[in-house]
């Protein structure tokens, strides 16, 4: 759906209503003016005609078609004809036609193409007087009156538009401030909206939003606190259990039945520890922890993780980190969530890669990260489902099936992408994950720059 602006809609609506109203008003005024002008001019025409009729009736007339020369006659000057009882023009002004204005002479107003004519009522005399007003004059007067009513409106319409726009924008300024504040909330910023000197109509919205933000912050904090407490409450007893079982294992010979059972308990406890770790990570990934936005160095996180995993999980290959001369990659996101994501990708590579081959972690010049391990190629349908929970690449492989789902979930929350590929080359082997963060700030080492 196309977005629209409240200010534009109000301005256009108000302006539309104002314009239509003014136009309707102008048309009414123009119509009324025209009617009034016509009436006044008709009255004048009739008066002139009747006076002339009275004057003519007492005057002797000469030969037919005598032209009475009137000075200063223009295109708007009244014209008149004196017609005898046979319909012949016996006297006319120089701007009147030779023939009578109309062939049938009846008292009243008659319109011809060039004149509006009034024929006065007959008197005792044998002559009739026809006075014609040029249509041009009448039309001009009407147009001028109409223009006087409409043109100012047309001239002032842009001014009205500007004023309405200014007033609406000023009136909506508090709404803009509220909009800006609300827009900055969400990605890690759940602080309440400060006092903005809002009108009463918006204060209730601000209060509602602040209440919602407070509830959201509380909910997220509770989830984070729960995950942290759960980690403490689960890891400590598990650590104690594993340590005690291992000490028990030192007391019992491994080849005895008791020793075998102790080993089983120790293995199960280790596996339980890994499962707890994955579930805690899954809980954190699902709690929205990754929605926070802080600036941190991705490379530091990667180095600490690689160092931790390198000397813990492998006797053989380990992790080779190739930073390509890059010293820092600053990104915006949640450091802990990023740590969980990268740890899962690295653990996945170590777990499913060939034991005697290193996991290659390469920092690309644009800040993207490649995590690559050697393994048989994965079928495309399995590759497509790997980011779903509890999906494993190969049947029977160890692992919870949660690692890539956790990584993918966190990446989504941080607007990052994790692109999985297999195979990596023509040899038909290998698995790779490419992590792309939005707008990474890459700093090269001084000697590499």
């Amino acid at each position: 759906m196309k977005n629209w602006s409240l200010a534009t809609r109000i301005v256009s609506s108000v302006l539309g209503v104002v314009t239509l109203s003014l136009l309707a008003l102008s048309l009414a005024v123009a119509g009324f003016t025209r009617y009034e002008i016509t009436e006044r001019l008709d009255n004048s025409l009739q008066e002139v005609s009747e006076r002339l009729q009275a004057t003519i009736a007492t005057q002797p007339h000469g030969p037919r078609d005598t032209v009475a020369w009137v000075p200063d006659v223009g295109p708007r000057t009244l014209a008149y004809q004196v017609v005898d009882q046979y319909g012949h023009v016996v006297l006319r002004s120089q701007n009147a036609p030779v023939q009578p204005f109309v062939p049938d002479i009846h008292t009243g107003f008659v319109d011809t193409p060039r004149f509006r004519v009034y024929i006065a009522a007959p008197t005792a005399a044998a002559y009739r007087v026809l006075v014609g007003e040029p249509t041009l004059h009448r039309r001009g007067a009407t147009w001028r009156a109409t223009a006087i009513a409409i043109v100012p409106i047309l001239v002032f319409l842009p001014v009205i538009w500007l004023l309405v726009r200014l007033i609406v924008r000023r009136a909506l300024r508090p709404l803009d401030r509220l909009h800006d504040e609300m827009q900055s909330r969400g990605s890690g910023n759940l602080r309440p909206i400060p006092s903005l000197d809002l009108p009463v109509e918006l204060v209730s919205i601000q209060h509602a939003v602040n209440t919602l933000l407070a509830r959201l912050e509380t909910a997220l904090s509770t989830e984070r606190a729960f995950a942290a407490s759960a980690a403490h409450e689960l890891r400590n007893p598990l650590g104690a259990l594993l340590a005690q079982v291992q000490m028990l294992g030192r007391m019992v010979p491994a080849e005895t039945e008791a020793g075998r059972r102790v080993n089983i308990i120790a293995d199960r406890t280790r596996r339980l520890g890994r499962t707890v770790e994955k579930l805690l990570q899954f809980s954190r990934a699902s709690s929205g922890a990754a929605f926070r936005r802080n600036r941190f160095d991705l490379l530091t996180v990667l180095r600490v993780l690689a160092d931790d995993l390198d000397h813990n999980l492998r006797d053989g290959g380990g992790i080779i980190l190739n930073s390509n001369g890059i010293s820092h990659i600053f990104v915006h996101g949640d450091m802990d969530a990023t740590g969980i994501m990268l740890r899962n990708l690295l653990e996945n590579a170590l777990l499913h890669g060939r034991g005697d081959m290193s996991v290659q972690v390469t920092i690309l010049p644009d800040g993207r990260i490649d995590v690559i391990n050697d393994c048989p190629a994965l079928a495309p349908d399995i590759l497509a489902r790997l980011t779903s929970p509890f999906v494993r690449g190969r049947t029977g492989t160890p692992g919870s099936g949660l690692g890539l789902a956790i990584a993918s979930n966190i990446a989504r929350q941080m607007d990052a992408t994790v692109c999985l590929r297999s195979p990596l080359s023509k040899s038909g082997r290998g698995f790779g994950a490419r992590i792309t963060f939005p707008d990474p700030d890459v700093t090269r080492s001084p000697d590499e720059a």
């Binding site: 400590n236 805690l280 740590g339």
Partner: protein, 223 residues
Amino acid sequence: MRILIVEDEHDLGAAVQEHVRLDGHAVDWFTTLEDARAAMATVDYDFMLLDLGLPDGSGRDLLRDIRRTSSNIAILITTAEDQISDRIAGLSDGADDYIVKPYDLNELVARISAVARRYAAPRRRVCYRIGEIAIDRENRSVSCDGRALDLTAREWAIMELLSRSPGRIYSRQQIDTALYALDQDVDSNTVEVFISRLRKKVGNKIIRTVRGRGYCLADGEAA
């Protein structure tokens, strides 16, 4: 090494203390920061296993306090705080390593050795030879003319201490401290007994007695 464990989870602390002690170290275990500070005021520890969530505060405070002093103790954080920010903060505050619970005791001991090696490498000879006797600090072994000698944990602890600075004289008190935790009873002639046993294995001329002052290794050469 003389190791201090600060861990409030009793079942875990007890097991760790026992396991590390069996690996040949003198281990003291305390459950609070206050007790740990008191112990550090009286004993010169080489290594510390530090939990962060303790009843009377955060282990991170103790870590920062130690790093503000000239103490050269190696510190390994053992904690349930598993976030990467916790790990980075711990390492930034001066910890040498960071391990998250639940951990394997063998892995813990391996990490202790790895950190101890890092501490030893810059200032101490890793391998020292006195005549036919070779002391390999990295592999924690002593050999005579290429033949490995079977030393007990206590015997190795004395040899490890003396080989830190060959030629330096270590007092009986210092050797006592390296050998025994605070909760262990020590007889007045225990050090002499172990020195005597060591001499039977490595030879009388390897460990010299400096009358009235203590013991030191005979002159040799780094290998």
